[in-house]
């Protein structure tokens, strides 16, 4: 399977009719299951807009997103639903992405039912347990009845990953999924993500401003600035021989503890 963005552009009109913001300019990107692809950039670089386009949440102004060569626009309704199952989202703010009035079981169970992964009550519950188990929330039964506010930040982020993983996706688009977490919790969530990659062959499009994390987990890196992908390459090349001056600036700015 190959997820591909081809010459994707996104413009937003801002304020007065004539002002146009080019959020994404001519972006080309490839992601595969089993591969950790990172998009790095600072605020306003267009990385989150590109993520939303990849997730089929907003349309591109021009260019296409293709799955195995089939553009989103020419997919049938069923293919499109299938696309949305195979490409899942994990977003930054777990508090905002989780309904505060739904318990963990319902949060995950609902999407399982929606995509008809399982239908009966016991089957759904088993799937929810399995997903929680996969993200290291053990014993799963202890978490089924909890509300989001009864979970820690790291646990909420794991529930979001569990909700995504419950649908057997091939690629997870994670937008600043670990940025707001404390170091220790961040390490834990990243380990879960790496583990899912190894065990289930899930691929990631990992969007972040956190370069040390990219250096730690990514296979391939795209660097974005002002809507443009200014540099792209295997992680090793990006970190040891950055070609673009902006990449060098970013690398120099990342705070690292000696």
């Amino acid at each position: 399977m190959l997820l591909e963005a081809k010459n994707v552009c996104k413009t937003f009109r801002s304020g007065r009719r004539t002002d146009v913001v080019h959020a994404v300019r001519n972006a080309n990107l490839r992601a595969r299951p089993g591969e950790f692809v990172a998009i790095v950039g600072e605020s306003g670089s267009g990385k989150s807009t590109l993520a939303r386009i990849l997730l089929d949440l907003i349309p591109a102004t021009s260019g296409t997103v293709e799955l195995d060569g089939v553009p989103l626009g020419s997919m049938s309704k069923r293919e499109r639903t299938e696309y949305r199952r195979r490409v899942q989202a994990v977003l930054q703010d777990p508090a905002g992405s989780l309904n505060p009035r739904k318990r963990v079981e319902r949060t995950i169970g609902e999407v399982i039912r929606l995509h008809r992964i399982a239908t009966t009550r016991t089957e759904v519950r088993d799937k929810v347990r399995e997903a929680l188990h996969l993200v290291g929330m053990n014993p799963a039964d202890e978490f089924l009845d909890r509300f989001p506010h009864e979970l820690s930040g790291g646990q909420r982020q794991r529930v979001l990953i569990a909700r995504a993983i419950a649908l057997n996706p091939r690629i997870i688009v994670a937008d600043e999924a670990v940025s707001a977490l404390d170091a220790s919790v961040k390490a834990g969530v990243l380990r879960v993500m790496a583990d899912l990659k190894d065990r289930l062959g899930v691929g990631y499009v990992f969007i972040t401003h956190d370069l040390p994390v990219v250096r730690k987990v990514a296979d391939h890196v795209y660097v974005m600035r002002s809507g443009e992908i200014v540099e792209e390459g295997p992680k090793k090349t990006i970190f040891t021989e950055p070609a673009h001056p902006y990449t060098r600036t970013l690398l120099a700015a990342a705070p690292v503890l000696r």
């Binding site: 600072e42 605020s43 170091a183 220790s184 834990g188 370069l211 040390p212 730690k216 503890l257």
Partner: protein, 299 residues
């Protein structure tokens, strides 16, 4: 601890906190001991870091020293906070006003909640200058521009005429620095001052904070979850967990020869995120359980 060269043994430290307890309400009938028996000293011109994870009590400690905890009968602050020798626990509100107006400046993570959205930047900085200190209106305006410039904002006159929403995140944070230094305070408490900023902006804002603090000889209390940020900016560190200070010492020493198991685990975890060929490490639940017991026993 040896006395710093600029104050004799009889001069009290700028800030001296002893046995500080803060209890905060968390719901109708529940409460949490956010700070437990904390002892802390900040001397003249010293830079002190407070590090810890979310919920460690670091921000509450900072707010207690600035007198910014909510005034509710359900918020209970006990122990001792002495600022320049004066006991502030139980002190009247006017005494705290005096401290906040002249002695302590604060910089928060989110400048938008702190800045007045309908007041121009220049006026907000001017309000931070004690009345009568700079003389007439023109002198005050010049001072405002000087502080904005010192906080790293080019074209201060232009910035002064703007509203907060017209500035970028980095610029807003610089405005907070300007407001803080305009008091010519003895102490600046910076609580996660650059956490919300991009790395390149963070680096520049920290440099500015560093330079202004050195220039003015102000003491600094830097509160952050980010050890890398605190490492480069401070002389001494307090490590907090569950409302307690678990370790204190010279920054270099704490970072390279941590004594407490929590500090060791925290550093290992931070380094595991950055270093090649090391497995990602998170603080094991057993250690957290042990720490929780330790914290409960101590209070």
């Amino acid at each position: 601890m040896s006395a710093p060269p600029n104050s004799g043994p009889e001069t009290p430290p700028l800030v001296s906190v002893a046995g500080l307890n803060v209890v905060l309400p968390t719901g109708e009938r529940s409460e949490v001991e956010a700070v437990r028996r904390v002892d802390l000293v900040i001397r003249d011109g010293e830079r002190v870091g407070i590090v810890g994870e979310s919920g460690s009590g670091k921000s509450v400690t900072g707010r207690a020293i600035a007198g910014l905890l909510p005034t509710s009968p359900r918020v209970r602050v006990t122990g001792s906070i002495r600022i320049a020798g004066r006991e502030m626990i139980g002190a009247p509100p006017e005494a705290w006003d005096e401290i906040r107006r002249k002695r302590v400046g604060m910089i928060f993570q989110d400048p938008l909640t702190y800045l007045n959205p309908v007041m121009r930047i220049g006026k907000q900085v001017a309000e931070s200058i004690p009345p009568g200190r700079e003389g007439d209106e023109a002198a005050r305006t010049r001072a405002v521009h000087r502080f904005l410039e010192q906080a790293g904002l080019e074209r201060p006159a232009e910035v002064a005429a703007r509203f907060p929403h017209e500035l970028s995140g980095g610029m807003r944070q610089r405005v907070l620095i300007a407001i803080a230094i305009a008091k010519l305070p003895d102490l600046i408490i910076a609580d996660e001052p650059t956490t919300a900023l991009d790395a390149t902006v963070q680096q520049r804002v920290l440099k500015t904070l560093d330079a202004t603090v050195s220039e003015l000889g102000t003491s600094l209390m830097l509160i952050s979850h980010d050890l890398a940020v605190v490492a480069g900016m401070t002389d001494r560190i307090y490590v907090m967990y569950g409302g307690r200070v678990v370790e204190e010492g010279a920054t270099e020493q704490v970072l390279h020869e941590p004594k407490h198991p929590y500090t060791q685990a925290l550093l290992r975890s931070v380094r595991s995120l950055a270093d090649d060929g090391v497995e990602l490490y998170s603080i094991p639940p057993e250690l957290r359980r042990r720490l929780a017991e330790e914290v409960a026993d101590a209070s």
